[in-house]
């Protein structure tokens, strides 16, 4: 097809970035996945026929929540430094983000250890156990994926392989991280607030 030079009255042809659209769609499809687990949790609140019940064993995970939500702030600070071109500060705040994520996972591990060994709640104990471990576990697995991505960026940046045209990649990873945090707010509300009294 010959490309005739048309006297185009149209403005410049600009389309959205595939990375941005792709990440939005990943978040959309993940949202659909989480929705089903959240619905299952809500549907089965108070339907367990044997204990332990949520009000007996669940405690508000204040520390874990603070750790995870503050990591959403630190990742924004890291991004700012990236745009300013201050590499060392980017690395620092990016590392703090990763450490906060690790802290959240450790907190979850401690919580699960208590639930399993002291309260004898496992995934096969009752409906509460099934829905609790599957929903919180699905979220935790997403935190793990996010951490792997963050650490990957850190390693690549320390070894000097991150160039200016990689900035959008990094921003997309931070979007994913914000999504994981947003899911935690939903999980927190559903599991530890709405479902805690049953």
């Amino acid at each position: 097809m010959s490309s005739q030079s048309l006297t185009s009255t149209e403005t410049e042809w600009k389309l959205p970035s595939p990375r941005v659209v792709g990440m939005i769609l990943v978040i959309l499809t993940e949202t659909a996945l989480f929705t089903i687990f959240v619905v299952a949790y809500l549907f089965y609140i108070g339907k367990s026929v044997s204990g332990p019940y949520p009000h007996e064993v669940l405690e508000l995970p204040i520390l874990g929540t603070v750790l995870l939500l503050s990591s959403s702030v630190t990742i924004v600070v890291a991004e700012r430094n990236l745009h300013k071109g201050i590499n060392s500060l980017f690395n620092l705040w990016w590392l703090i983000t990763a450490l906060l994520g690790v802290g959240f996972l450790i907190y979850t591990g401690v919580e699960w250890h208590k639930l399993i060994y002291e309260d004898h709640l496992t995934i096969s104990t009752n409906l509460f156990g099934s829905t609790f471990y599957s929903l919180v576990g699905l979220h935790a697995s997403h935190v793990v994926v996010g951490l792997i991505l963050i650490l990957l960026i850190l390693i690549l940046n320390v070894s000097g392989r991150i160039k200016h045209y990689h900035h959008e990649h990094i921003i997309m990873i931070s979007w994913y991280w914000h999504f994981v945090d947003a899911v935690w707010i939903v999980v927190f509300t559903v599991v530890y607030v709405i479902g805690a009294k049953s």
Binding site: W13, L15, P16, P18, T29, I36, S124
Partner: protein
């Protein structure tokens, strides 16, 4: 690029190809297909995979029909019969219809929007190979150890795997695990493929192709892939829960522990009904491309077609429980889902009228693609009408789980979706292979298959109204079902003969067919502006688009479309 040429370019110096990489040798040919990230080759692999499994699942259908041809039949054992109906349904949906749909869209979308490949070519290959291997994974269940006594290891809990029949207590052995894991893997492949296609459409349109100038095929592909991205995850979530239940003792669907068997059905059908639209929208898409070209008129009511598609996409989210009218919903639920089901007939009806209006007053050419489209219009109309009947809840209470339902959804899937796929094959085969499909053999295919289709599925409506339940292994004489079942089985043989004509035609024409040229149908979309088959890079220079029919503008510079849009 592993394109198998004798000389590969690596950096600046030319190095000879490794042994086996030469084009034409069998090993080079296989290497080419395994290494490829080209959307056209992957599209053809998708369609080829779908057709391969179509033959296997079709053989299962013939066995089912042979078993039901006469009362008290003993062609298969009851256990094998359960496996056959489960595998037939599962394979036809997940490894025949889905790969062909993805293949169609994969092949055509980048060409139609003037792109050189998909947004993420390697992800595209990943999606395909997941689909491919998950299919073989499912079939491996036939030999992978015993299920129930007297049966193979193939899953046997029905294609929507009714809980708690799927729990360890009732389905011992690994058969259900093969089912749930293979469906889960193919689901991951579909979601990644869906994201890839959506990103391609949104971000890689050629200059000037605004949203309101996209071919309808691309619009419908976009909506289809949106449905894939949003409604496949519920199925994956349900499969994860099922696997947790079977192997870690979770209680999701265990009524004894307070779990709900109904919840499984909700989760399955939240996926299951949009899935129908995932499959039928691409068929609509091919109809929307073929009908205008063979009526020599632009599509009637383009904006209305787009709006109707988007509307179908939205309403399809709220109709799933019409598969569950008989499980005991409350009256609000029944009313809501019945209303939504009837409402979705409105945009679908709009589309029917728009296709008819496109044909009205047109200069119709009865070439093979068009013949299949016309048959589609007739058959899909009846499928839609029985769908509206079943959407009326009291009617559904009478006929749910009867052969009437079987007849209805085979009218949708075979009479509608499969005819759309046939139209697709006859219309775009010349583009993919550079050769026309044989018309005489194509007509044999059409008539044998259409006669067979009606012989098979028309009588099943009557058998259903006479009370024949679905999934039964056999039946007693004297209930008035014998004649309908016998006709049905005879029809299946006609369909098989028709399908053989198609396969022979596809194989024969690839080497011996008439040379097609770049634009055999005098069409208007961009894929016909490049060579047949298109080069790996699709377009030498990215085309520029000023109307919905860019190729018309090029052929008729004195009367271009963009003056009137």
């Amino acid at each position: 690029m592993a394109n198998g040429t004798a000389i590969t370019e690596s950096g600046t110096e030319l190095v000879p190809a490794r042994p086996g990489e030469e084009r034409g040798t069998p090993t080079g040919w296989i290497q080419d297909l395994v290494y490829t990230v080209d959307h056209k080759k992957l599209g053809m692999l998708y369609v080829g995979t779908g057709l391969f499994f179509f033959v296997l699942a079709g053989i299962m259908a013939l066995l089912i029909r042979a078993q039901l041809a006469f009362p008290n039949g003993h062609v298969t054992s009851p256990q094998e019969f359960n496996s056959l109906i489960t595998m037939h349904g599962t394979v036809m949906i997940f490894w025949v219809a889905m790969p062909i749909v993805f293949g169609m869209i994969n092949y055509l979308v980048p060409l139609m929007i003037g792109a050189r490949d998909m947004a993420f070519p390697r992800l595209n290959a990943f999606s395909f190979w997941l689909t491919f291997f998950s299919g073989f994974f499912l079939f491996f269940s036939f030999v992978a150890g015993p299920g129930l006594y007297g049966a193979s290891g193939a899953p046997d809990a029905g294609w929507f795997a009714i809980a708690p029949l799927t729990s360890q207590a009732f389905s011992k052995g690994p058969s259900i695990d093969y089912w749930s894991l293979s469906v889960l893997i193919s689901g991951i492949g579909s979601v990644t493929g869906g994201i890839n296609i959506m990103v391609t459409i949104i971000c890689y349109r050629t200059k000037g192709m605004t949203l309101h100038r996209m071919p309808l095929f691309v619009w419908l592909a976009l909506v289809t892939m949106f449905l894939v991205v949003v409604y496949l995850p519920p199925l994956s979530a349900a499969q994860i829960m099922l696997t947790l239940e079977r192997h870690l003792g979770a209680k999701f669907f265990d009524p004894q522990a307070g779990g709900s068997a109904i919840l499984w059905q909700h989760f399955f059908w939240i996926f299951g009904h949009p899935e129908v639209y995932i499959l039928v929208l691409p068929a609509f898409a091919t109809i929307s491309e073929i009908v205008p070209v063979f009526s020599r008129k632009p599509i009637f009511g383009y904006p209305m077609m787009v709006a109707a598609t988007v509307l179908i996409g939205f309403i399809s989210a709220g109709v799933w429980a019409h598969h569950m009218f008989t499980v005991g919903l409350n009256s609000f639920g029944v009313t809501f889902f019945a209303m939504a089901t009837l409402a979705i007939a409105v945009p679908t009806g709009l589309k029917m009228f728009n296709w008819l209006a496109t044909m009205y007053g047109g200069k119709i050419r009865l070439e093979l693609p068009m013949i299949f489209c016309i048959a589609f219009l007739f058959q899909f109309l009846i499928a839609g009408l029985t769908g509206v009947m079943l959407g009326v809840a009291p009617f559904d209470w009478q006929l749910n789980d009867s052969y009437f339902v079987i007849a209805h959804f085979h009218y949708v899937i075979v009479g509608g979706i499969l005819y759309g796929i046939f139209g697709f094959l006859y219309y775009w085969y010349p583009k993919a292979f550079g050769r026309m499909l044989n018309k005489r053999l194509g007509l044999w295919h059409f008539w044998l298959f259409t006669i067979g289709f009606h012989l098979t599925f028309d009588p099943q409506h009557f058998a259903g109204i006479l009370g024949m339940p679905r999934r039964i292994y056999t039946y007693q004489p004297g209930r008035g079902w014998e004649l309908w079942n016998l006709i049905s089985t005879i029809g299946a043989l006609f369909q098989a003969a028709g399908a053989i004509c198609l396969v022979l035609n596809l194989l024969w024409s690839a080497r011996k067919g008439k040379i097609a040229g770049d634009d055999p149908w005098d069409a208007w979309t961009l894929e016909w502006s490049t060579t047949s088959p298109p080069p790996e890079y699709n377009f030498e220079t990215p085309p520029e688009v000023r109307s919905r029919r860019p190729l018309w503008d090029l052929k008729h510079p004195e009367d271009p479309d963009w003056k009137f849009e």
